[in-house]
């Protein structure tokens, strides 16, 4: 975080160190489940059947990861997740930018009423519409297609709301200067205003991407063909094997394979991701 932290507890007393120590301890608890999963993934399934405490001792092995490489749906799921998440993000950015510009800058009959009606959509939870939506997609034969996985996320009003606010915050002087500069309406949108909304685009894009990547319910009921599983759904599907615990190491290797890249991406884009998630909430 780059901004200044105005702190009420500046000072370096004993109390401060105590707080810091407690926080660090909590942080270790925080990452323990992840470390545990990594540990388990490095043991053979047989070793884990006998005693899971063996993760603390050698020998460790990469066989579980090797097994994933040669025979697992994980890659297909990963590909699906990438396609769906990128597709949905792109769709949301395009639709929300156009609509945000329209609501913020252009007048058309019923504009304000329509905008308020769209805002009401913010309060509609997915659960209230998912059944009818599911039937609709059955009728349109959209289940088990990428479009079927992407479209519902594009209908959420949050992006439109965010972009409208952002466009509204840009002074109209800018548009007027561009008009005097002989720019057409579309050029003003495309060359002048849109580039100014890049921070909002980043926030919205990351938020949508994360949402699509982690979404579970809709892809589970829409992409029922294992070839169309997203990573999230695929990992869930393997959990049925969990009861047997036969493949605990293998299962954990899949999990690690799924969450480590996410964490790495998170480390690089932490600032934007935090902003996107917090921005979406408030």
């Amino acid at each position: 975080m780059s901004a200044q932290f105005a702190s009420g507890t500046v000072g370096r007393g004993f109390g401060d160190r105590l707080i810091l120590g407690a926080t660090i301890a909590l942080a270790i608890v925080m990452i323990m489940p992840m470390l545990w999963a990594v540990g388990l993934s490095l043991k053979t399934n047989q070793a884990l059947l006998i005693d899971t405490n063996s993760v603390l001792r050698a020998p460790w092995t990469l066989t579980n990861y090797y097994d994933i490489l040669i025979g697992s749906g994980v890659f297909r799921w990963l590909l699906n997740s990438i396609i769906v998440s990128f597709g949905m993000s792109l769709g949301v950015l395009v639709l929300a930018s156009l609509a945000g510009y329209g609501f913020a800058r252009l007048d058309f009959p019923g504009r304000n009423v329509i905008f308020v009606l769209v805002l009401f959509g913010l309060a509609i939870p997915e659960q209230a519409v998912i059944l009818v939506r599911h039937q609709l997609f059955s009728d349109l034969d959209l289940h088990n297609t990428y479009a079927g996985l992407m479209l519902p996320g594009m209908s959420a009003p949050f992006g439109v709301f965010l972009m409208t606010q952002y466009f509204k915050a840009i002074p109209t002087e800018i548009d007027e200067a561009a008009m005097l500069d002989n720019a057409s309406r579309f050029k003003i949108f495309w060359r002048v205003l849109l580039p100014m909304t890049l921070p909002a685009q980043a926030t919205l894009g990351i938020f949508t991407f994360l949402h699509a990547w982690n979404d579970y319910w809709w892809p589970m009921v829409s992409g029922t063909n294992p070839q169309m599983y997203t990573l999230t759904v695929g990992i869930a599907s393997t959990q049925q094997n969990f009861a047997e615990s036969a493949g605990l190491g293998y299962l954990m290797a899949q999990a690690v394979f799924a969450f480590v890249p996410v964490l790495i991406v998170y480390m690089f884009f932490q600032k934007y991701i935090v902003r996107a998630v917090s921005g979406a909430a408030t």
Binding site: P171, E173, I174, A177, L180, D181, N182
Partner: protein
Amino acid sequence: MPGIELKNLIKTFGAATVIDNVSLSIRPHEFMVFLGPSGCGKSTLLRMIAGLESVDAGEIWIGDRRVDQLAPGERRVAMVFQHYALYPHMTVRENMSFGLRNVRMPTAEIDKRVAAAARMLEIEHLLERKPGQISGGQRQRVAIGRAIVKEPHLFLFDEPLSNLDAALRVRTRIEIAQLHQRVEAAMIFVTHDQVEAMTLAHRIVVMNNRKIEQIGTPMEIYSRPATAFVAGFVGTPAMNFAPVELTDGPNGFVSARLPDGVTIPTRIEQASLPGSKAFKLGIRAESLRICGAEQGDTAGVAQFVERLGDRTLVYVRLSDGTTVVAEDAGTSRVALNDSVGVKFDGACAHLFDDQDRGHHAVADVGS
């Protein structure tokens, strides 16, 4: 370069009329300033000329082209906005050339114009920076540069100095005056700062409440205000007003009797006045001199003393309770609650009739 003609312009926002039948003609290469209080419609009028507001009725001509139905970009006007309105994601160079590229001007010509304007404004070293990386004053220059490169027939400025600090404001004001000397186009400059108006303008358009009150050179506006509003709005401190009764004076001039009984001879011709009875006398502080309590036309008590260095303003409460502002030398010794005399220079007095129209001393003797 063409002149500009505004004919019977009307603008309404919903039920509110903001510009009411305004006509105005601007000569080629003239520096015109729109002056008036906040909300009087200056910006609206300017924006109508630019094409940013539609015209409800009337015509706008630039030279022999009627432009009021043209898109803003086609009118050959350039505008400098109050908040600069630079494109933040473009470099200074791109900001300046954007409008030229939009009309597909050859690159060589664009480069030439940008280079010339940058040299004139001394922003050559900033060309590759973004607006966020330069100071407010520099942004102002870029905004002016963006206008210059278009080689417009008319420059429009909407309070371009109000965002600058006092020192920079004075400097930029001088630079705009110099810019005007270098280009051939006419300029319209909107401000509510009368110092800017007085120093920059060839002619000032004083606006109030949807209408033009007076059009004239700075000196005409100052010394022969057409209305009581102009008289009160222009000049610091504001002109003193007092209701008066007129009596016949010498040589066909009238004399004015103040509420406290003092009679002041003016140089306003009886014949030039309308028949009405109710008149207000208007007289600036500089025509009211402080003197010894016994020596003045009238006397009062100093209620408030403002020392400005080169002169001193004394707020004098007269016997009938009205307060007037009078001037004294910078070295004045007048102190609070002193009894002072006030001497009226009736030759510089103005009269305003019941329509608030101004009447002034005969021209050859007027100051």
